[in-house]
């Protein structure tokens, strides 16, 4: 996955909003997302790239865009591995 990759949610992913963060799941894979990971999750729409989400994250938290993009890619890797998202390169 790189900055140009475009993530999309699988249609059969389950989501619960507990107020502080999201719980997302597909089949037997369950993730409790913290506030930052929930911010990233909400921007996965099959249109915006990893770099786009990184830019938004950088703006929200006042961090370097390149670093933020790397953080986004790192956060998405396990979700991709467990089939909660797909990625178009």
């Amino acid at each position: 996955m790189n900055g140009a990759s475009v993530p999309a949610l699988r249609l059969d992913v389950r989501v619960r909003n507990g107020g502080d963060g999201l719980m997302v799941a597909r089949q037997e894979h369950v993730y409790e997302l913290d506030v930052v990971a929930s911010f990233i999750w909400r921007r996965i729409d099959g249109v915006h790239s990893v770099a786009d989400i990184g830019t938004a994250l950088a703006g929200e938290y006042g961090i370097d865009p390149d670093e933020a993009t790397a953080d986004v890619a790192e956060a998405l890797e396990p979700l991709l591995a467990d089939g909660l998202i797909t990625v178009k390169d």
Binding site: L9, L11, R14, V15, N17, G19, W41
Partner: protein, 258 residues
Amino acid sequence: MIDLDRIMPELVRHHLLPATYQCVFVAGSLIRGWGNETSDVDIYIVTDSPWQSGSADPRPVQLRNGLVPAEIHHLAGRRWDIEYWHAEQVDELLEKVGWEDVNRGGAAARQMSWLENDFLERVSYGVALAGQSYLAELARRREASAFRSLMVARALDYLDLSTEDATGQLDSDDVESAVIAAKLAFGSAVDALLASHGEFGNNEKWRARRMRVVTPKELSFEDYWSVETMRDFDPATPRSWVEQVLARCNRIATEVVV
């Protein structure tokens, strides 16, 4: 649409009012201003002792005393539907949706019947004809309970089931079934959203009315109505419609706080 002052005398005249009771209230579509000429008058009487009558129709509920007697009465061409809830049943119902039970797993709360949902929904806007303070206390206890969270969670569970159906059907090229499942998923997503804003209800025929009442920021009425009426559905590309609807359901579920 209905003269509330006529109800108590009419109940007395036809021996439909017990000797003692905690509360009598009217609810349903007529009270919400959604009724029409064919709408029933829904009357609830909370009794001190079980209602005994040869004409009562016992309706099942998931409580220790598992029956709520109901009488049907007609006046001036309108049907009155009168349910007699024993005060002990009401207390048990509120315990069932209490946080204590829900935090233990909420097994009892998951067994709620249609009648129980209706009763709890209606205490918040019902109009008391007698026992106003009792009804106000009922509404307060329900608001303090886990009822809202339970209704949101139940709708999201239904959403998950329909979504799973729709995606499985798409995978097996059963696209017509997937369209129906996606429509069901969307209805559940909207119900979850409405429940999170305090609008509950068993009957989907009032969903548009409830959307008008809530006007949730997460979904405009126009967007809701577009999917509800399948405005963008193209018979030539049903798969695309299903995918768009499921994606929208997912966005709604993301914003609904359980």
